[in-house]
Amino acid sequence: MGYDDYYFPPSQPRRVSGGIKAQSQRGAFASRWWAKRWIAVLESFNIGARLGRGRRYARQGQVLDIQIAAGEVKAKVQGSRPRPYQVSIKLKPLSAANWRKLTEAMAEEARFGAKLLAGEMPTDIEEVFQAEGLSLFPKTHGDLETTCSCPDWSNPCKHIAAVYYLLGEAFDNDPFLMFRLRGMEREALLAQLGEAVSDDEGWPPAEPAPLPDDPLAFWAMPPLPETLAGPLLAPAKSAALLRRLGPFPFWRGEVSPLEGLEPVYVAMETSALSALGGVSGES
């Protein structure tokens, strides 16, 4: 127990339900290097046991809401008082001129755009920033301006820490969040990298197909393709697609989507076989 705890014994927060819950229920919050880098900055603050409590808060779902905007993260955290505390984390946004230089440098190698589009932070992104004397990630606590409406004199407090951990987890899945915090939106970034972007993930709309009035064409079935259904092959690891999606940002459920739905994925093979008829899944 540290010195701080002597004066500020840990108070029990009011339990809330439906708060944002960290999906990593043990171990590190972030699995990928860029999110780890973010967490490392927090952990360099030397705020003692507040880190551990912040982690617990994050995992219990004490954080009610997080909003990320250019240069600032605003959050509400439920502490021991009835009214949730207001947390703010500010990071200096970069100027438009800075961004122009950065994106010009990034456009030279395909992998920056490729990785970002695929949901990953390019490994040596920091080198690009450093070359311009800038930084994407906060390096020291001096780069961050954090506030919380709680009575703890320590800054960061456990509430800030909780928000910070959850942000780490979110960055893990969406590297663009870091850019947003630095004042660059995803679409604008990709556009500057020379990539047209759109949020349209649907298929191009199909042309309307009027019904034929010729009876032969109307009733007949054109030849079916030879391999109609493809191989019956289950993925080597169940729920592969769900895994590929990564964690759900700012998840509030009791169990993660993967934990909750994997058993369903495992049972799909049997269900499909029984639906295909006459073939039981047991043999």
Binding site: A110, G113, W219, P223, P249, G260, S283
Partner: protein, 1031 residues
């Protein structure tokens, strides 16, 4: 006639029916408005139809009330989907789409899955209940839905429904190939499948792809929820406090409805979209990234080198984008980065975001494949180079991983080709010692193993060198071969182990590729002595050395029949079961009888058991007495048949015991009391379902030789194959579960070609199928083949027959002159009617199925003919019988059947002939009254002619036959003359055969000669003999 249709609209499959209108209500323009669909099928009729088909809808699938369906309509009359429902309207106006109101059954997804799985490969569900094309289409599409779920290509979703309610649901993800499949399957959608609309003013015009997607999503959601309901997937769920948790719970519930604050729900739906966007964007792009592996070129000088040095060899991966709609359209990455002239069109097809898509795809692939990551250091990467090690890694691991994740992989032809060289074992078997015990597969042989790489044998030294090389890819004679360390170790171990002992049966299984040996494929088995002969003989099939026909056979075997007979003898001599699956009409009967005659002549004293359908018992007896008169034949049939000891004693006094499938099961105990020299199953497809009593009984009986005869190509439905093979060669294909796993699932469901080839290799040697269309066969076939088809009477027919004879005898005695003559002719007529069908005789419109031996046989034969896609003429002298046949056969075959009779106008007749001869998918069966259609017409599209009843005038019959057998006919014509055994039909036929010359004179004038016979002769002629009746 009821044709079942199904159209999908708004998350629901609507089942509706088209029924033949009752005759008293002719379809006229006046009667038809949008409200009165002329082929209207009430819900109760639909339900009855499904129940008849054995597919009752367990619960109350809701009647959806009246739906508007748009159908091609001509002159105010909707055009039927098939001539089975009704003829075309007379109007000459061009057809247009018009809305019709009719009742539909709205199927739930659960019902739909059951129904669609059940109707697959069943064009006729029950007599008169036919599956429409779109219903068949949906049943095929079910396979795609099932495969998507099997592959777990689904993601959870939340969708907004009407009135901003939300539903948690599972949606299919069309990853990689599946996107291509979706496009292709959508292209095969019959327009009728999307003919239901909600708008009363305009016909629906949703694109097939969208309708199919919605349909698949609907079924996939259902199947996944089924999975969630499995005990293994169940979780104790407490109500979740968060919306996220509630969403997960709703995904596992059967309904999926999600309640809550609308704003929060909308936000959650957006979050889910954002979460899945990177993946979905790739999946839904109109193209996908492909990796093409290119082999290093090689010098011709190295062509003979066994081991090619692997160091520094350069392989290459090329990045390409492949269009989903047209997989043959491939655009190289270079062209995507810097479009040149000429590539513009291709790029246009890929859409405006090709660069972004390429980049994003590469980004995703980079996390699966480190080399891709490295390649991304360039600004416009187009591929990368690999050494042999890298190429091996790509082939062994990365290619599969990339494919599973939706990327395309294109490997050099030498990798995908079937003739790919691999490490294998070659067996050299030596007979241990000469023994006189004869040839049996249980004899033990010594085996030496040789290791081969492709065709090249490897010495132990070479193999060791190969092991040391540790190169996973080596080049052998110019071809790259993949080797695993485990394979090389297995090969080394096997080489050491010389002189291992195997039975002939084991070796046979190895030779046919049933098993691996110590993890290595067996490329071939060479053996000396008798086993060598067997293996060589099996490879030959019917080119096997001919065998002199047994002297006691009174028929002359055609060359191919001689070969078939020799083949049967060869296989069964080895204790191997044989399946003779020649086309109908090629003489399976005579080949089998020749074998039985030969066994007898070789001193076989035990009887052979021959099981066939009841309708064929008489035929077999007749054929046996004709071709093998020395073989005593016993018919085990009828109520008074012997059982137990008495049966065994009886049987031992005969060479052949004939019985039916029904008795095979019922009298199994009696049958087991006899030691059989051979057991033959005719129409062996009767045991295709291994679980049936008769199939089990067939397997339970022991016989030294086992033969299955069938005209249906069993090899086409491999599910049926196991049961027949298990009867023929027990254990050869493994047990049912193993067969299902190794062959049925891969072949039937996955269309796995390697499994199919393996199965063919395993079963091919035991199956002989020759087609009439084979050049080699047709050479020795006459242009016209006349066959008598002997049928039995049903009990009902026999009773009626006896009654008619009794009545006639009573009055004949006192009759004279003209009245006697009239009486005789009318009796003959009535007996012929009874032989045809009781319903014809009684003229009471009573039900048709199961009451006539002739009709049963005709239906069986027509089904076989239909499978071969051939056409048929049926002649009858009775108009009533013609009508009855037409209606019955249409319902059984689900194909239009024409009937030409005296009541039709010249124009109508001409039109029928024209349709039969020229319509592309025209009616396959044409019934003709022998008086109206026996002369003049040209019907050469038919190559089967049935004389359902007889005119007893060869000239008239031949003339009728000549409708098909004339100039313009380029196939063999088969003439089937139906005769009821033990009845006046058989008697007259015999009479004519016996006195052929006399017949020309006396019979030439029709049937009046009969009236000249004495009363005793007549009694003898009419009398019913016992064997006429079926069990």
């Amino acid at each position: 006639m009821l044709v079942l249709h199904a159209a999908f609209n708004k998350g629901c499959l609507h089942l509706w029916g088209e029924s033949t209108p009752r005759e008293e209500e002719p379809v006229t323009t006046k009667q038809t408005t949008a409200e009165t669909y002329p082929y209207r099928t009430e819900i109760s009729v639909l339900r009855d139809g499904l129940t008849q088909a054995g597919l009752p809808l367990q619960t109350n699938a809701q009647a959806a009330g009246e739906q508007t369906i748009w159908l091609p309509t001509q002159g105010g009359v909707p055009l039927p989907s098939s001539p089975l429902v009704a003829g075309p309207p007379k109007s000459r106006k061009p057809p247009t789409l018009a809305p019709w109101k009719l009742p539909t059954l709205a199927l739930t997804a659960a019902h739909a899955v059951n129904l669609l799985a059940a109707v697959r490969d069943r064009p006729v569900l029950a007599p008169g209940v036919v599956v429409g094309e779109e219903l068949r289409y949906w049943s095929e599409a079910l396979r795609l839905a099932g495969a998507l779920v099997y592959r777990q290509h689904v993601l959870p979703d939340l969708i907004e429904q009407q009135r901003s309610t939300y539903r948690a649901c599972w949606t299919p993800v069309f990853l990689g190939e599946d996107g291509v499949r979706l496009e292709r399957v959508a292209r095969a959608m019959p327009p009728a499948a999307r003919a239901i609309g909600t708008d009363h003013r305009a016909p629906p015009d949703s694109a097939p792809r969208d309708v199919l997607r919605e349909f698949l999503a609907w079924l996939v959601d259902h199947m996944v929820r089924q999975a969630a309901a499995f005990p293994a997937a169940k979780r104790a769920g407490t109500a979740s406090a968060s919306l996220h948790g509630q969403w997960i719970q709703a995904l596992r519930r059967s309904d999926g409805a999600l309640e809550g604050d609308k704003t929060e729900l909308r936000q959650l739906a957006k979050q889910i979209r954002d979460w899945q966007r990177p993946l979905l964007r790739l999946v839904n792009a109109p193209y996908r990234l492909c990796f093409r592996l290119e082999e290093p070129g090689f010098d011709e000088e190295d062509a003979d080198t066994l081991f090619f040095p692997d160091a520094g060899t350069e392989w290459r991966i090329h990045y390409l984008l492949q269009a989903r709609e047209d997989p043959s359209l491939l655009v190289s990455a270079a062209a995507v980065w810097k479009p040149k002239r000429g590539t513009g069109e291709g790029l246009k097809t890929l859409g405006p975001k090709a660069r972004e898509g390429l980049l994003a795809s590469l980004g995703q692939a980079a996390s699966l494949c480190p080399a891709v990551e490295t390649s991304l250091k360039e600004s416009t990467p187009v591929g990368y180079e690999l050494d042999t090690e890298g190429a091996f890694r790509f082939l062994a691991e990365e290619a599969a991983l990339l494919e599973q994740n939706g990327f395309g992989v294109m490997l050099p032809a030498s990798w995908t080709g079937k003739r790919r060289a691999k490490l294998a074992a070659r067996a050299q078997a030596k007979t241990r010692f000469e023994s006189k015990a004869g040839m049996t597969l249980d004899r033990v042989l010594d085996v030496e193993w040789e290791i081969v790489l492709g065709e090249t044998g490897l010495t132990p030294k070479e193999l060791l060198a190969l092991a040391k090389l540790k190169a996973p890819l080596v080049r052998v004679r110019g071809q790259w071969v993949q080797l695993s360390a485990a394979e090389i170790q297995a090969a080394l171990a096997l080489q050491k182990q010389s002189g291992a002992a195997f039975t002939g049966r084991d070796l046979l299984r190895l030779a046919l590729g049933a098993e691996n040996v110590a993890g290595l494929t067996v490329s071939s088995v060479n053996a000396d002595g008798p086993l060598g002969e067997l293996l060589a003989g099996l490879a030959q099939g019917d080119t096997i050395a001919p065998l002199p026909p047994p002297p006691g056979l009174t028929a002359t075997l055609r060359p191919y029949q001689g070969r078939g007979y020799a083949w049967l003898e060869f296989l069964t001599r080895w204790g191997l079961g044989a399946c003779l699956a020649d086309d109908m009409g090629l003489g399976k009967t005579v080949q089998t009888l020749a074998l039985l005659q030969r066994l007898r002549e070789a001193g076989e004293a035990r009887p052979a058991l021959l099981i066939c359908p009841t309708s064929l018992v008489g035929n077999w007896r007749k054929e046996a007495s004709r071709f093998t008169p020395q073989l005593p034949v016993m018919v085990h049939h009828g109520a008074g048949r012997d059982k137990g000891e008495a049966f065994a004693t009886q049987a031992q006094d005969h060479a052949v015991v004939l019985s039916s499938y029904g008795l095979l099961h019922r009298d199994l105990q009696s049958l087991q009391g006899v030691e059989w020299a051979a057991m033959i199953l005719d129409e062996a497809q009767n045991i295709k379902n291994a679980e049936t009593k008769q199939a089990k009984a067939a397997r339970a009986l022991r016989a030294e030789r086992r033969i299955a005869l069938t005209g249906t190509p069993v090899e086409n439905n491999i599910g049926d194959l196991w049961s027949i093979q298990e009867f023929l060669n027990p254990g050869f294909l493994g047990n049912a579960a193993r067969f299902k796993r190794e062959f049925f699932l891969p072949v039937q469901v996955q269309h796995d070609e390697t499994a199919m080839e393996r199965l063919q290799r395993l079963t091919g040697p035991f199956l002989l199928r020759r087609l009439k269309t084979d050049r080699a066969i047709i050479q020795d076939l006459p242009d016209k083949l006349e066959m008598k088809v002997y049928c039995t009477l049903t009990k009902e027919q026999a009773t009626l027959y006896a009654a008619v004879v009794q009545q006639a005898e009573a009055v004949l005695a006192g009759a004279e002159g003209m009245s006697r003559r009239g009486l005789i002719l009318s009796t003959l007529l009535r007996l012929k009617q009874v032989c045809n069908h009781p319903a014809q005789f009684l003229a009471d419109h009573s039900p048709v199925p199961g009451r006539s031996g002739k009709l049963a046989r005709l239906t069986e034969m027509l089904e076989e003919i239909q499978e071969a896609d051939e056409r048929t003429l049926i002649f009858t002298q009775f108009a009533e019988m013609g009508h009855l046949l037409q209606k019955y056969l249409q319902e059984q075959l689900a194909r239009e059947v024409l009937f030409l009779h005296g009541g039709l106008s010249k124009t109508q007749r001409d039109r029928m002939v024209e349709r039969f001869q020229n319509e592309p998918v025209g009616p396959p069966v044409f019934i003709l009254s022998i008086k109206a259609g026996g002369t003049g017409l040209n019907l050469t599209r038919a190559n089967h002619v049935f004389h359902f009843d007889r005119w007893w005038n060869p000239a008239v019959e031949n003339q009728a036959t000549d409708r098909a057998f004339r100039i313009g006919q380029n196939r063999q014509v088969e003439v089937h003359k139906f005769i009821c055994l033990g009845t006046v039909e058989e008697r007259i036929d015999e009479l004519i055969e016996r006195k052929q010359s006399l017949a020309e004179k006396i019979v030439g004038s029709g049937e009046s000669w009969l009236t000249e016979l004495s009363t005793d002769d007549l009694k003898n002629l009419f009398r019913l003999r016992a064997e006429a009746v079926e069990d």
